[in-house]
């Protein structure tokens, strides 16, 4: 696990559901074929309504043109991030696109589990609402040891809630790695 993640942030609203993160029609692609896997990155966040795509102004494409990687590697969202279906393709698509950490006010249970157990990204919860205090394109640093977010664009620092029970799984890199480390499998 990277202790410090630095990059550009992409800001979203409340209730970003898994159909917005990766529409169901693309779930037919193989998750193990390297070429098909790129499709997941290419279509990541493709169904977010344009006015909410990259707040505060919207209309910021997460993926440009034919790319499968995004220029943004940190997502800041609102409440109930990842609600909806159980598709693990959602955190996978974000990982393929280059996202390393999501910071939201709250998560839907299955998305949170999938992010942790699959080792796709770190799902942090912020102490206070941040998607109205950080702008898409801001350059930020997430410090996993200090549990804080530093916005280099406006030099503000925000506290994140420690990962708690799931820290060991996140640190191990996912459920299987955790189970092997702890001798369970």
């Amino acid at each position: 696990m990277e202790k410090k993640i630095t990059g550009k942030v992409y800001v979203l609203g409340d209730n970003v559901d898994t159909d917005q993160i990766i529409p169901a029609e693309y779930l037919v692609y193989s998750t193990s074929n390297p070429e098909e896997l790129k499709k997941y990155g290419h279509f990541a966040l493709s169904s977010v309504p344009v006015e909410k795509a990259g707040l505060p102004n919207g209309n910021v494409p997460f993926i440009k043109g034919d790319n499968y990687e995004s220029e943004f590697n940190v997502i800041v969202g609102g409440t109930n991030f990842g609600c909806g279906s159980s598709r693990e393709h959602a955190p996978l698509a974000m990982q393929v696109a280059g996202v390393k950490v999501v910071i939201a006010e709250s998560y839907a249970r299955i998305f949170f589990r999938n992010s942790v157990d699959g080792g796709f990204l770190i799902p942090y919860v912020c102490k206070e609402k941040l998607n109205d205090k950080i702008n898409t394109g801001d350059v930020i640093e997430v410090d996993v040891e200090a549990n804080q977010l530093i916005n280099h664009t406006d030099n503000k620092t925000w506290a994140l809630i420690p990962l708690g029970d799931v820290f060991e799984i996140v640190e191990a890199g996912g459920l299987f790695q955790y189970a092997r480390t702890s001798g369970m499998i």
């Binding site: 209730n15 559901d17 159909d19 917005q20 529409p23 169901a24 029609e25 779930l27 037919v28 692609y29 193989s30 998750t31 193990s32 098909e36 169904s47 977010v48 309504p49 409440t79 109930n80 609600c83 909806g84 279906s85 159980s86 598709r87 693990e88 393709h89 709250s106 998560y107 839907a108 249970r109 299955i110 589990r113 999938n114 157990d117 699959g118 080792g119 029970d165 996912g174 459920l175 299987f176 189970a179 369970m184 499998i185």
Partner: protein, 438 residues
């Protein structure tokens, strides 16, 4: 903490205790549960099997073949080669591991939508733990069991170990009393709740339904309630076993099971009470299942499509409701009838109103009857029947109306009961079903 140890437990807590071999569990603690059934389908099965093979390597062994149930159901009637490849992967996996509970598409073993098939094929067993790679796995909770959805990694872990870590959820109780009016269905009840508590009002919690109005519902209507627990973020929905449950189970060949009931002094996160005689038909407006309004308030909204189908709204009870309204009528907009399972499709031919089969009622009304699968509930490949297109305004008995959920991002979806959808189909605009009950 000590106080909580002395208090009673909810049904969900009792099942967690039994499955983790503990006397007592407390909400918030993480436990390892023994899984009784793992269910998967064509969208999440292939990646689940891949992860299982990769992670366990040479040691990969299915923990218990009899406990693995595989229903292809999502993308079945499509020419999409990638979708068809997924079903082929399931087929080959089932063949190479000699799986007893694989229900192949294109054969007479095909069943249709997994959550309904689980009930009809006898996999829903009170007191047990059923985990599925689909968020609507919570449907099975109507049978007094713990059921919830997970992703592929968790499923792959279960496939090899039979175990899952889970946090004991706090429980919320929803009590419905009174006599259900003829114009009201379970769909109206759950949309009512969603409007009250919103799409994250039950996140990480159990939603327990009780009261005499719940007791008056048949199993399929109860499944509509537990099915949409996930729409409030719920970990699971649950309804205690009663005579109605026992009768359904006996018909499905399930005779041995353990019944759990919540203790009178069990602790709840919150309690909600509703008198069903005071409720009225409701919809969820675009683009969220909690965007509730009364049908009355949106009546007259022009629609382009009606859709009656899915694990939520494609059960025999949903079609009985719809047929009552559509008998002798003609639909004014394209209306899709998608029975959730093969068994239900057969029932449409067998059940009659005034001597006319439900299927004929729908055909005479001008509806399009599709084959059993998840179909356009979740959009699906571009050739999926009923898929929404740009500019569509759909009224649907399904479960989600997120942007793009049923296909086009620029379509709008209203969620409603089968009575409301059928009434709207007849008028071509959103219509209160009470107009048909006077």
């Amino acid at each position: 903490m000590k106080e909580m140890l002395d208090m009673g437990m909810t049904i969900t807590e009792k099942i967690f205790a039994a499955s983790s071999k503990r006397e007592k569990v407390i909400p918030g603690e993480n436990l390892w549960l023994d899984v009784d059934v793992l269910m998967t389908h064509d969208v999440c099965g292939p990646p689940t099997f891949e992860i299982w093979k990769k992670e366990f390597g040479d040691k990969a062994k299915i923990w218990d073949k009899n406990k693995l149930v595989v229903f292809p159901d999502h993308y079945i009637f499509t020419k999409n080669e990638h979708a068809n490849r997924n079903v082929k992967i399931l087929r080959e996996f089932a063949a190479s591991y000699d799986l007893p509970n694989y229900y192949d598409a294109g054969t007479d073993r095909y069943k249709g939508v997994c959550h309904i098939a689980l009930a009809q094929e006898g996999y829903n067993i009170p007191g047990t733990v059923l985990i599925g790679t689909d968020s609507h796995t919570c449907t099975s909770g109507a049978f007094g069991m713990f059921s919830t959805g997970v992703g592929n990694t968790d499923a792959a872990f279960i496939l090899g170990t039979g175990k899952i870590w889970e946090k004991v959820p706090e429980s919320m109780k929803f009590t419905f009393t009174g006599t259900m009016p003829a114009y009201l269905t379970a769909k109206d009840l759950i949309l009512q709740i969603l409007g009250d508590i919103t799409t994250d009002g039950a996140t990480y919690r159990a939603m327990e339904f009780d009261g005499n109005a719940i007791g008056s519902l048949n199993m399929y209507e109860r499944m509509t309630l537990t099915n949409m627990a996930i729409e409030a973020g719920g970990m699971n929905g649950i309804i205690a076993v009663d005579g109605t449950t026992r009768k359904f189970l006996a018909e499905a060949g399930v005779t041995e099971y353990e019944i759990f009931n919540s203790d009178p002094d069990a602790i709840y996160h919150s309690k909600y009470s509703y008198d069903v005689s005071k409720l009225e038909p409701v919809v969820a407006k675009p683009h969220s299942p909690d965007n509730r309004d009364t049908v009355r308030n949106v009546a007259g909204t022009k629609i382009t499509k009606c859709y009656i189908g899915s694990c939520t709204g494609g059960k025999i009870t949903d079609f009985r409701y719809a047929a009552k309204v559509l008998l002798g009528e003609k639909v004014k907009v394209t209306t899709f009838i998608v029975p959730a399972s093969i068994t239900i499709a057969k029932q449409l031919e067998e059940e009659t109103i005034l001597g006319i089969s439900l299927k004929e009622i729908f055909q005479n009304a001008g509806c399009i009857i599709a084959e059993s699968s998840c179909a356009a509930c979740l959009g699906g490949p571009s050739d999926t029947i009923g898929r929404s297109v740009d500019g569509d305004v759909v009224i649907s008995t399904t479960n989600r109306n997120f942007p793009g959920r049923m296909g086009s991002k620029s379509s709008q979806v209203y969620l409603a009961s089968p009575l409301t959808v059928a009434a709207s189909a007849v008028k071509g605009v959103i219509t209160d079903p009470r107009e048909f009950f006077i």
